[in-house]
Symmetry: C2
Subunit: 196 residues, 2 copies
Amino acid sequence: MNVVWHTHAITKQTRAERLGQTPCVLWFTGLSGAGKSTIAGKVEQRLFEAGALSYLLDGDNVRHGLCGDLGFSDADREENIRRVGEVGRLMVDAGLIVLTAFISPFRSDREGVRALLEGGEFLEVFVDAPLDVCEGRDPKGLYRKARAGEIPHFTGIDSDYQAPESPEIHLDTARHTADECADRVVAHLRERAYLR
Amino acid sequence: MNVVWHTHAITKQTRAERLGQTPCVLWFTGLSGAGKSTIAGKVEQRLFEAGALSYLLDGDNVRHGLCGDLGFSDADREENIRRVGEVGRLMVDAGLIVLTAFISPFRSDREGVRALLEGGEFLEVFVDAPLDVCEGRDPKGLYRKARAGEIPHFTGIDSDYQAPESPEIHLDTARHTADECADRVVAHLRERAYLR
């Protein structure tokens, strides 16, 4: 290994102090149609209004670029989540509050990202709604396609979703609106002093 | 392609305005030992003191993580630069001034990163010193190992370095100190209103 670690004078701590926030990753996980992107977008707006600096990574801004070489096989999905986790880690090091919105159905992948970060930096946000509710919403028409056999290995249809066992935040989007859920997330950040 | 683009209400522009800076990538390129990391680290400190928010990506914080699956073959080096470029693009979208310090010997790889970004967002910084000067410095002992045949495809020894043809900033580190070079970079950013 011809690699040497450098230490830089400007650290995560100095950047976080400058920004007046505690950097972390809010990892939204849940079925397609559960509301991950919608709620994450609303959290992002609230954070901006509160003076925080955040960034939202989702399948849409990552799939075309950083992960543009990856498909939808199990191995490629795992690598997709790994790279997003690594970018999250770098952005946390930069001082940001990072939001990610990916189905990320496998517990081991999510725990892999948690392991990249320091204690308290990974907040798993379970965006929970029953399959029939998600399928009824079907905002992108993906369930319809999956039922028609046009999308193999679709989470909830012919591929497993492994629900978080003890998420930091559990949102029930069948009972609460996206705005209520976003408020819950921000309240959690305030209570635990991620926001000042 | 089961991918749909979202637009988010908080944009690069709103984040950049909040931070009071124009996000960009300062892409430091040059031979091993030319001074890329040293100068980039000094620029980072000056930017922090000037109230800007920046982040330094280098082989050291990326090679172990995001690019930990890549080796040193030509194809892997190209993929390494591509991923760094994509992370740079995401961090620019987040509003940051991004510094990168990689040998990045191939013009086509660097131009590939430039093409990911919008006009004015990619600033190529040529950290220029003659091979014999870099080899004389040899801060990590890599030239010695390369001459001994222990590191194949070492840039400058048995692999090409394609110098930038019209870099935004050209630093001659054989004639100027690292502090002088860092001042040059910051002056460039001020003159062109990346910093306010």
